[in-house]
């Protein structure tokens, strides 16, 4: 019972109970509603955790300023995705793209995925975090394979091979961290707890810690889709069901970055280790430039936005690699803004695909004239993801660039170049997709747009005005990250 009374119990138990219940529900309509309800309860639990933060959660869990941001973000995007998924799945089944047995286990898997991601964020034990990220990976592999087409199987297999290699490297890194901590801190859980690791990091063997971080960066970097470890990402995004693309881009990529940052804090606490910054900046810049160039050759709309996710992960890795309060602040803000905006994009894209009956961009034209509401929502979402004002991504990208100008003017130039190239790619495509003579529709009606509106209005709100407490809080976390 103590788990129920635990203030953090809600965000872990609600998904778990919901998954158990959903496993027995055959009717996908009822399952969709339960899924939405459970995600809403999880959101409430996360908000409660935000407002009344418990001082102690036992030895396995901890809420601090860093993870609470992501817990709340997870809950918001998780909730709006369930609402989108409800309409999406109902339509896919009524149109015959999917059979009810295809999505028999979609809803329980979704809840387990949410629970695993929440626990990965909430735990203070490096090993437990790894286990949860592994579970989240396995579940998303299964979800990408749901349509059971040649393409989705290829995507899932590729994701499986690259994802498991990545996750193995991350585990090896975690074991290395334990091995350097164990002689100093002692056996058992203590040498796996992040707070203890940070406190004693100065006495760890610096060379081994460096080696461990390289494994962590490559391992979790694969999960975050950083170039050159990104190969699974576009396929998985394009071939899986659209709600899964939204979760992958919006939440799972962030989790990879989050894990890297946890270990970066350990590394930063030891004065004799290498600076992790240059490595992260290099991976980040390479991702930005590579993804920006790749945007021009894409013909598939989901793949197009998947490359945009690689670009944004690159910006985030660059920001944290740069370090310092301003860049870290910008990185955190960018993570939050990107996950809201990108999941919003995928909801919109899902609706567009429903109208046009295809994901080939050549067959999608003139959205704003045929469906003004959806068309202009799409325009707004692309403007947001391109990092233009008045949306929040502008603020964060601007801060990243100005921090880079102060510290590394040359690299800032490369970053700006990458951002401009990707802006060009996005607007070139946006022009074809949203304006001009409309292409024929496969269907007239699209699904509800309010989940998109929720996500985008949060991005807009934080773009126009960041409330004092929120700014203070981000700044505090930015200092923690060093």
């Amino acid at each position: 019972m103590s788990a129920l009374l635990n203030p953090a119990g809600g965000i872990l138990l609600v998904p778990l109970i919901a998954a158990c219940v959903l496993a027995f529900i055959r009717n996908y309509r009822i399952a969709s509603w339960i899924n939405v309800g459970a995600a809403f309860l999880t959101l409430l639990a996360a908000l409660r955790l935000l407002l009344w933060r418990p001082s102690s959660l036992g030895s396995l869990l901890a809420v601090d300023d860093f993870n609470i941001v992501f817990l709340v973000l997870n809950a918001i995007v998780g909730f709006t995705t369930t609402v989108f998924a409800k309409g999406y799945l109902a339509h896919e089944i009524s149109s015959g793209h999917l059979k009810p047995w295809h999505i028999r286990y979609f809803h329980p898997l979704y809840q387990i995925l949410m629970g695993a991601m929440n626990l990965a964020l909430l735990t203070s034990i490096a090993g437990l975090m790894w286990v949860q990220i592994e579970i989240a990976t396995l579940i998303t592999i299964l979800m990408v394979g749901i349509p059971r087409t040649h393409e989705s199987l290829e995507a899932a297999w590729k994701y499986f091979i690259l994802g498991s290699v990545g996750i193995s490297l991350a585990l090896f890194g975690t074991i290395l961290v334990y091995s350097v901590a164990q002689p100093v801190v002692g056996d058992g859980l203590a040498a796996m707890t992040f707070t203890t690791l940070v406190a004693h990091a100065a006495q760890f063997d610096p060379d081994m810690l460096n080696l461990a971080f390289v494994f962590i960066l490559l391992g979790y970097g694969t999960k975050a889709g950083l170039f050159p470890l990104h190969a699974w990402l576009p396929d998985a995004h394009a071939e899986g069901p659209t709600p899964v693309s939204a979760i992958l881009s919006g939440l799972l990529l962030n989790l990879g970055i989050y894990a890297i940052l946890r270990f970066k804090m350990v590394l930063a606490a030891n004065p004799h280790t290498m600076a992790p910054g240059p490595l992260m900046m290099m991976l980040g810049l390479a991702s930005v430039v590579f993804a920006a160039l790749m945007l021009y050759r894409r013909s598939d709309i989901k793949r197009f936005f998947a490359y945009s996710s690689i670009e944004h992960m690159g910006v985030i890795a660059f920001a944290f690699g740069l370090g310092g309060p301003l860049a870290n602040f910008a990185g955190l803000l960018h993570m939050a803004m990107h996950s809201l905006a990108k999941s919003g994009i995928f909801f919109t894209v899902g609706n567009v695909m429903r109208l046009k009956g295809t994901q080939k961009m050549a067959a999608i034209r003139g959205l704003t004239s045929s469906h003004p509401l959806l068309g202009w929502t799409f325009v707004a979402a692309v403007v947001a993801i391109a990092g233009l004002p008045p949306f929040g991504l502008f603020t964060s990208e601007f801060l990243v660039v100005s921090a880079a100008m102060q510290q590394q003017p040359l690299l800032a130039g490369v970053l700006v170049l990458g951002l401009i190239i990707s802006l060009g790619g996005l607007f070139w495509r946006l022009n074809q997709l949203a304006f001009g003579e409309p292409s024929p529709n496969a269907e007239e009606a699209h699904g509800p747009l309010w989940p998109i509106a929720v996500n985008l209005s949060l991005v807009l709100l934080l773009g126009i005005y960041i409330p004092g407490p929120v700014a203070l809080w981000f700044q505090h976390v930015a200092k923690l990250l060093g």
Binding site: I125, G127, G145, E154, F172, Q182, R298
Partner: protein, 219 residues
Amino acid sequence: MSFAPDVSHFLSGMILLLSFAMLYQDRLPPLLNIFIAQSLVLALSITWQAYNQNEPQLLITAAIEFGVKAVLIPFVLYTLIRRLKIHRTVETVVGIGPSMIAGMALVGLSMALILREHAAIGGTAREDLAFALSVLLLGLLMMVTRRNAVSQVIGFMAIENSLVLAATGAKGMPFVVETCVAFSALVALIVIGVFLFRIRERFDSVDVSILDHFRGEQP
């Protein structure tokens, strides 16, 4: 030099040797046999660590390792190989010479990285980590040089063996991790099984290169 570290190093060395043996096998049944042998030696090594570190719960890990990786998964894979009639197929692997040389270079790299004089790592963990890193890199090498889905899976499981070796060599590593690694092997099997059967269903082959024809990028 005491007796205890020698035994654990001997077993780790055996595991590494078997990894080399896997590199040049070009037919699936012998490859699987060597994998079984590796898992058996690993189970022995964990049992030795349990005795040596006086951590009886490691015996559970050893039992899981033995049951899953030396019995259950090989059995399923044998069945699969027979059913798919690929037990006679000769796989084109990169020549024995080049893969051996690449393997030795990788082992040299991991030794150079981990076996340094001043590295502060307790107990036998240092040498075990060096062996584990070698096995991990050899597993990666195997995964990139193979095109058959079954041998890629075996390569992946060799990587998992290396992780278990590293985790059990680290003294007093929390139990959570050990069971979960073994457990994840089981989960991975489910995933893999599902995939392999579907791949067979769809393509009448387990050659992963065939998958590459279905690139979503082509207009």
